[in-house]
């Protein structure tokens, strides 16, 4: 698998129902691929991701920003004192009170530092400081 966008989430984005701003709450989890087989074409809500796969988080993304050319950014995040199964992916979604309504947006499993073995220490995710930041839509 490679990093990618959830297609149904992007459809909601295109409809104007996803706002990468303080209007919406964006969250990120660190996940265990042993308990989740990603399907970017059909998975639409967080309920598609088994609870066992959500190893660490969620953490709310802060300082959301949209830059030129459809680039989105946020402040770095940290999962403190992370412990549990090894984690292979990060997942960003729009949080709306219940898992069944929380749109899956971005799946990341290819990055320096992934997979990560949780050893009780902190795991920091540094969004890229280059031209694409978190993602370019």
């Amino acid at each position: 698998m490679a990093n990618g966008f959830y297609q149904l989430g992007m459809t909601e984005w295109a409809k104007g129902l996803i706002h990468w701003s303080a209007t919406d709450t964006m969250r990120c989890i660190l996940g265990d691929a042993a308990d989740y087989a990603v399907d970017l074409a059909t998975h639409d809500f967080l309920a598609d991701v088994a609870g066992a796969a959500r190893e660490e988080g969620p953490v709310t993304l802060g300082t959301l920003a949209t830059l030129a050319d459809g680039v989105i950014d946020a402040a770095d995040i940290t999962f403190t004192a992370a412990a549990g199964d090894p984690c292979e992916f990060l997942l960003i979604y729009k949080f709306v009170t219940v898992d069944g309504d929380s749109n899956l947006l971005i799946y990341i499993d290819t990055a320096t530092g992934l997979p990560v073995t949780l050893n009780g220490g902190d795991v920091t995710v540094q969004w890229d400081s280059g031209s694409n930041r978190i993602a370019k839509i």
Partner: protein, 117 residues
Amino acid sequence: MPTHLGLRLPSYFERRRLKEAKALEPVVFAPVRRNPLKPQIKIKMHQSIHGRFKDGKHYDLEAGKSYWVDQEKADEFIVKNYASGILSRPYSDDEMANIRSNIQVITNFSQEGLTNG
């Protein structure tokens, strides 16, 4: 004090006192687990942080916002540069290096092709 048929009637104030006394509920003392108050420090988050309390409950501190947190945690977050604030005491270089020693970093993914066009 008025008396009728040899009975002494209580005054208005006495009747009111008796009525209020009946309305009082007994006090029940229940044992509670008391936690000593810990000093709190205000910090402003540079990063969003997820963590767990000792009882397993989660906390989620969002970047850009300010929070009051326990002094011990506040110092940890400030030393790790997750937040800004005032340390409760000076930390030596060795102490700070020790606090920062166990951090893994995930990065460089957007260069791996997370673009949609």
